[in-house]
């Protein structure tokens, strides 16, 4: 998979195919010219008083604002503030992450005592969010197929003081059976279109698909996750791309292969229903219960989230 810089001038042509599904398309294109706001999640496992973090960052020149309706999330100004170089980061009090990236774990609703698999876990923003949500009392299997990425995940688990996770290095598609998982998160590798926006260098960054068949990989991961979760259990499938071929079409594949239903969720950010038709293909009507999030409406990365229940 090669990386390619997408010039900002190329963006309108690239995204044109989504004109009908992205609300207020021109506004979306305009929004891509602005850099992403900076956010972090507070880690109360290590920092029992949020004042310590807020005052510490303010002393270093940052302005910190709580995000409405998203407890423990804060926006930081200026947006190029080096959060990664602060004491608060070093001590594991904060995890810099974009807002919409918190949505899949909200859909997952982790509870203490549950067995939870995070299938594509590295570098660990969602694994650590799961640990926090369950007060470090869920049993989390954090898996990633690449050792270099797993190293970053292990470092973040340590930094945030998580004691409820073990790490494994399997290809998700062949993750072994045997653990009665209550919930599984498949935050699948994707083309990352939701991240496209003007960087500080004035260009958009994206990963070119090249010869990698992402939808095939995503289908493999999702089907395996479904087969691993216990009957009545939950699989959350998410990506940070706009492309229906990596979103609805992948979930549609599962719904046709297995006995599953999509569960509607409440989210604290503006969203739209999943689409049920794309380029002449009609999808399973359940997909209307999935959720699409767009950068210009969330001030964040574009996301897709589907909460799926295993019926049999």
């Amino acid at each position: 998979m090669g990386t390619k810089m997408l010039e900002l001038s190329e963006a309108p042509a690239y995204f044109e195919r989504y004109r009908k599904i992205i609300p207020r398309f021109e506004e979306f294109l305009e929004h891509l010219k602005r850099p992403l706001p900076l956010y972090f999640r507070l880690n109360e496992l290590k920092c029992p008083q949020e004042e310590i973090v807020l005052k510490g960052l303010e002393r270093q020149g940052a302005k910190v604002f709580p995000v409405p309706n998203l407890p423990r999330f804060f926006r930081v100004e200026p947006r190029d503030f080096p959060l990664g170089n602060t004491e608060e980061y070093y001590l594991g009090y904060i995890y810099p992450m974009t807002l919409s990236s918190a949505l899949p774990v909200m859909a997952l609703e982790p509870q203490p005592g549950e067995y939870i698999l995070d299938m594509c876990a590295a570098p660990g923003s969602k694994t650590t969010q799961i640990a926090q949500a369950a007060n470090d009392q869920a049993v989390i299997v954090a898996n990633d197929r690449r050792l270099d990425r797993l190293t970053a995940l292990v470092a973040n688990l340590k930094r945030l003081g998580v004691a409820s996770a073990l790490t494994t290095l399997y290809r998700g598609e062949v993750f072994p059976f045997g653990v009665p998982f209550d919930k599984i998160l498949v935050d699948a590798p994707c083309s990352g279109e939701g991240r496209y926006r003007q960087g500080y260098e004035g260009e958009l960054l994206y990963q070119k698909e090249g010869h990698t068949n992402l939808p095939a990989i995503q289908k493999g991961l999702l089907v395996r996750a479904f087969d691993l979760v216990k009957v009545g259990g939950i699989v959350v499938y998410s990506t940070c791309t706009i492309n229906p071929e990596e979103n609805e079409m992948v979930v549609d594949y599962l719904l046709r292969k297995r006995q599953a239903q999509i569960i509607s969720c409440q989210y604290p950010l503006p969203h739209h229903p999943g689409i049920t038709e794309w380029e002449g293909r009609v999808f399973h009507p359940e997909l209307i219960k999935a959720a699409r999030f767009y950068p210009h409406e969330t001030e964040s990365v574009g996301f897709f989230v589907a909460k799926i229940k295993r019926l049999f």
Binding site: L91, G161, T167, T168, L169, V179, P180
Partner: protein, 156 residues
């Protein structure tokens, strides 16, 4: 000539062992006696062991299904055995040190900087010799050793 014994690495046997009740008592008593952190703090966690390391891992409904997985890491590195002593890790102190009631060393920012840079400070305090919690402006930084009028840094 006696053949030198070499420790073998078993790629398939990485799961740390669950320690005995007595060993658990020993480790948790150390935390209680040294820092005043009660053993109940860790009642929802297992203590696992690899060589000289103790790991804290959430108590699962059942451990056996997880033990079939080939794991890379399990839980949080909690305590190490250093010769005949037990030593808390900075990571574990950063997580649970706010519950401590004793053997806490409060440093000012300049002293902390110096300790991190020079690794040891001349230091006099009314403390028992041994491992201490290093704290600065309400933030717990981790583990130090107070002995013979010196404070030695074990901060990562």
């Amino acid at each position: 000539m006696k053949k030198k014994r070499r420790k073998k690495i078993h790629k398939e046997a990485k799961w740390p062992r669950v320690i005995s009740f007595e060993e658990r008592e020993e480790v948790l008593s150390f935390w209680e006696e040294r820092f005043g952190i009660p053993p109940e703090t860790f009642e929802n966690y297992l203590l696992l062991s690899t060589a000289k390391n103790y790991w804290l891992f959430v108590k699962p409904p059942e451990l056996r299904p997880l033990q079939n997985l080939q794991v890379q890491t399990v839980g949080l590195l909690f305590t190490r055995r250093v010769s005949k002593w037990l030593k808390p890790t900075s990571t574990a102190l950063q997580r649970f040190g706010h519950l401590a009631t004793k053997n806490i060393v409060e440093l000012g920012p300049l002293e902390l900087d110096r300790l991190r840079r020079e690794k040891r400070l001349e230091f006099e305090a009314d403390l028992e010799e041994g491992y201490v919690i290093i704290k600065c402006e309400k933030k717990i930084w981790g583990c130090g050793l107070y002995a013979k009028g010196k404070l030695i840094s074990y901060l990562p």
